[in-house]
Structures are given as structure tokens and as C-alpha cells.
């Protein structure tokens, strides 16, 4: 377990050094995107329309934050990750089209995303689910909000962050997926558990 601190824009070379179980802190710019923002971004790309933020080398965060307006300024109040598996249907194309280097969320992602991360050079950083204030305190500035018509949770929030983490590298750019490994062990433990509980069928 090595601890890395990276600043955006992050290069492919930097991201390729990270291995599963390493701990990562990100400083710089990140944009939130959930189901709706992913869908819209991919549609825009297909139509040749630019999206509001150039995401190359940045982190995308699966998050629907609680934000409050103080005067003209948005403040992130609570901003933990949402379940990433919902974005699995979009993420491979998203990584390819927008060249993000870090995808942040909770719960892990599947094979399609893992393959895309290996191919294009990106990692998945698991942020502790529910640790919303810890995340909010690392957000130093809400730079902008895009696509607000999607609603507060689904809009694209652009954050400036300082040492955002700890992120556990759960998918690296070499085809390793910590969640899949854990799941495999869990499946293997099933018979032992049935036995312990005296389940005979």
C-alpha cells in the first residue's frame, strides 16, 4: 500500500504507476457526473458538441452533492460518492472520449470499465461511501455548476479540491479490480458459511 498525491492534470504515465490497494489523494479540478450527466456528455460528444468542461487529465466524481448558496457563491456542504455501478454502462466511452484519468465513486465498477482503464490509462478511486463532510472539507471552491436543469444531484459540479481522499485504488490501469477479487473470495466463502449455519440443502 503506497500513498500517492497527484495534481491535475494527471498524465497517463503518472496514473499507470498506481496499483490496486494504493491510496491516492487528488489536488486540482474534478467534475461530478452521475447517470444523467454521463448520458448527456456522451450524446454531446456523438453530436460533436463540446461539453462545458475539458476533462482531460482530471477526475470525474460520481456524486450528487448537497450544496448551499451563500450570496452568489455555492458552498459544498456534503459531497460523498454515489454507487458507481450505475455508471458502468457509460464509463468506458466516457474515459475514451474525455480522457479522464481518475474515476471516483463507491461500490466499484465492472469489466467494461476495467478494460477501458487498462486500455486508455485511468484508475478507479474508491472514496468511503457516506463520508460526505470529509469530502466537502477537501472541496476548497465550487468553480461552477453546469447542466443545472438536471437537478441538484444530477448536475455537473466543478470543484477545486485539495488532497481529496483517501481514495483506495480499487481498479488500476493494468486490469486489476479489487472489488472483483473480494467478490471472488466472498463467493468461495459461501459454502463455509452455509455449513456454519447448518444449512443442509
Amino acid at each position: 500500500m503506497t500513498v500517492y498525491k497527484l495534481k491535475t492534470p494527471i498524465t497517463e504515465e503518472q496514473v499507470r504507476k498506481l496499483k490496486v490497494n494504493d491510496v491516492l489523494y487528488v489536488t486540482g479540478t474534478m467534475a461530478t457526473a452521475r447517470d444523467q450527466a454521463h448520458r448527456r456528455a456522451l450524446e454531446y460528444f456523438k453530436q460533436g458538441k463540446p461539453i462545458p468542461v475539458n476533462l482531460e487529465g482530471l477526475a470525474v466524481f460520481h456524486c450528487g452533492p448537497v450544496v448551499a448558496k451563500q450570496g452568489e457563491k455555492w458552498i459544498a456542504v456534503a459531497a460523498g460518492p454515489t454507487t458507481s455501478t450505475r455508471m458502468d454502462i457509460f464509463e468506458d466511452e466516457f474515459i475514451k472520449d474525455f480522457k479522464v484519468r481518475v474515476v471516483i465513486g463507491k461500490g466499484g465498477m465492472g469489466k467494461r470499465t476495467t478494460d477501458a482503464m487498462a486500455k486508455f490509462g485511468a484508475v478507479y478511486g474508491a472514496f468511503t461511501g457516506g463520508a460526505a463532510v470529509l469530502a466537502a472539507k477537501a472541496i476548497k471552491n465550487v468553480k461552477s455548476v453546469e447542466w443545472f436543469d438536471l437537478g441538484m444531484p444530477e448536475a455537473m459540479w466543478v470543484f477545486e479540491v485539495e488532497e481529496f481522499g483517501p481514495l483506495v485504488v480499487a481498479i488500476d490501469s493494468h486490469g486489476n479490480n479489487l472489488f472483483t477479487d473480494v467478490q471472488k473470495n466472498v463467493e468461495e466463502s459461501k459454502q463455509k458459511i452455509y455449513q456454519k449455519l447448518g444449512i443442509l440443502f
Binding site: 448551499a68 460526505a132 437537478g151 444531484p153 480499487a170 449455519l197
Partner: protein
């Protein structure tokens, strides 16, 4: 006294308390889990959780950005006055809390996909009523996160499989849920009644403190057995591996039809948010689980 006003205030206060301050029993269980966890990655997750709980209290900010679906459980004394005003007052409390705490607007029309913006809408906030003796009203709020709600399961066990069938049902549900419900979780398990009844009491069981076990020693043993078993899965904190998968298990039941064995597993995330207050007939309010913020 103006019952509507009192209940609106109480509804607001317990909502605010619930989303910011985790109940003591949950905090203690998380601390214990942190001390006992042997997986290095699992420990990083529990540490982040404990740090986050402290920060939420310090900054009076919601412990999780998913401030959940808002569910009230009202135990209404049949002799209490103005019971007809309570639901409207709780809707007002929800709107106010959404704006002032703030809470994330989480009520979406399933047909149009439109977010109401204030956590209210058809059947939301949800109010569960229970009539009791006396003239006071006890109100509990649960703010239920979406991640743990998505893996709740109800099903029908073959009656011949009995309790063994239930055990398998629960273990399979936990394994299938994996990382998604933000483990370590609390499980509410129920059997009997019917499809709706089992899920209702499973969810209600999530309101019990972790220090409380079923008074029936045989059911308490089943709670312990399931607790030990699912913690052997290795799912661990946030599904990143470790021995802390659940913090507690609560089991409840209703009698069942001879041909049916309904079963339900309700998951709660580690951010198990709840708060309770009692309103007496003279309008005095007693906060039963939390201190009132100055």
C-alpha cells in the same frame, strides 16, 4: 397550544438531529469495529467514517450527502388532540429542513423524472401510523439512504425449509448486495405476515438500537448466528474486504399463513440515521435520542 406548530418544530428538529448526529449506539459499534478490523484497507474505510462523523458534528453538516427518503413513524395516543394536523405539519417540517439544514432534494416523480425540489410529493415524506393508549404523540424519523434501499429484498421461502431457508435467504442477500449498501450495514430481518407486512416490520426493526437484542432468547441467538455468519463473508467496510460487514442484526416476525413463509431483509447503511421525540398533551416536547441543538 397549536399542535400543528409544535409538530412542525419537532419534525424539523428531529430531522436535523438525525442527518447530522449519528445515534450513540451506532458510533460505538463503528469504533469497536475499527479496533477489531484486521484488513488494512478495511481499516482505512472505518477511519474515514469515524473522521467524517466527527466533522459532521463539528460543522453541523449532514453526515452523508444522501439525506435519504424521509420516513416518519408516529405513535399517536388515541386521546391526543389535533391528530389530523400531524401529517401536514410533518410535510411543512420536511420542506423547512430541506431548505435550512439543508437536505438534498430526493423526491422524484417516477413518471416525469422531475425532482420536486423539497423532498415532498405523493406519499413523501412517508408517515407510518400506530395508535396507542394515552394522549401523547411519539414521532421518530428515519432518513433512509438510496444505496442501502436498492438492495432490500422480500421473498417467499418454501415453508418446509423453515428457519434454514431464512438463513440462506439472508446470507445470499448480503452476498449479492456486496459493496452497494455502504457496509458495514445493519440488517432488519422479518418473517411471516405477508409480502408487505414482512418488509414493513423488517424496516421498522432498523429503528432498534444496536445494543438491544430480541427478548426471545432463541431469536436473539438467531440474530447472533446470522451476525457471525455474514461477517465471515469478507465483504468488509465498503466492500473493499475485511471482517466488518454488518454492525448488527435485528429480527422480528409476524405469524404466517400455513402455505406462506414471507421473508424480508431491510439494509441500512452505516449512516443509520434516526431520531425520536415525544409531544405531551400540554405541548411539552421531550427529545428521546438526541440533545436539542442550541
Amino acid at each position: 397550544m397549536d399542535m400543528a406548530k409544535v409538530v412542525e418544530n419537532v419534525g424539523f428538529n428531529i430531522l436535523k438531529q438525525a442527518v447530522i448526529y449519528l445515534p450513540d449506539d451506532v458510533k460505538q459499534a463503528l469504533k469497536k469495529a475499527y479496533a477489531a478490523e484486521t484488513s488494512e484497507t478495511g481499516k482505512t474505510q472505518l477511519k474515514a467514517i469515524l473522521d467524517n462523523i466527527e466533522l459532521a458534528e463539528k460543522y453541523k453538516a449532514p453526515v452523508c450527502q444522501d439525506t435519504g427518503t424521509i420516513i416518519f413513524y408516529v405513535k399517536a395516543g388515541v386521546k391526543a388532540k389535533d391528530l389530523d394536523k400531524i401529517e401536514d405539519a410533518l410535510v411543512s417540517a420536511t420542506r423547512r429542513a430541506t431548505k435550512e439544514v439543508p437536505l438534498r432534494p430526493n423526491a422524484v416523480n417516477p413518471f416525469t423524472g422531475k425532482n420536486s425540489g423539497d423532498n415532498t410529493g405523493r406519499y413523501l415524506p412517508h408517515v407510518n401510523w400506530e395508535l396507542t393508549h394515552g394522549d401523547s404523540v411519539e414521532i421518530t424519523v428515519m432518513t433512509k439512504g438510496g444505496g442501502s434501499e436498492n438492495v432490500c429484498v422480500g421473498g417467499m421461502i418454501v415453508p418446509g425449509e423453515g428457519i434454514n431457508g431464512l438463513k440462506k435467504f439472508v446470507v445470499d442477500a448480503v452476498i449479492k448486495a456486496g459493496a452497494q449498501p455502504c457496509p458495514p450495514n445493519i440488517l432488519g430481518i422479518a418473517m411471516g405476515g405477508g409480502a408487505d407486512i414482512s418488509m414493513e416490520i423488517a424496516k421498522k426493526a432498523l429503528l432498534k438500537p444496536l445494543t438491544e437484542h430480541n427478548p426471545d432468547p432463541e431469536i436473539a441467538k438467531l440474530e447472533k448466528d446470522i451476525f457471525d455468519a455474514v461477517n465471515m463473508t469478507g465483504i468488509g467496510p465498503m466492500g473493499l474486504g475485511g471482517k466488518t460487514t454488518v454492525l448488527g442484526v435485528h429480527i422480528d416476525y409476524a405469524y404466517r399463513h400455513p402455505a406462506s413463509f414471507p421473508a424480508a431483509v431491510a439494509f441500512n447503511c452505516w449512516a443509520a440515521r434516526r431520531s425520536t421525540a415525544r409531544v405531551s398533551a400540554d405541548g411539552t416536547v421531550e427529545y428521546l435520542t438526541h440533545k436539542l441543538d442550541e
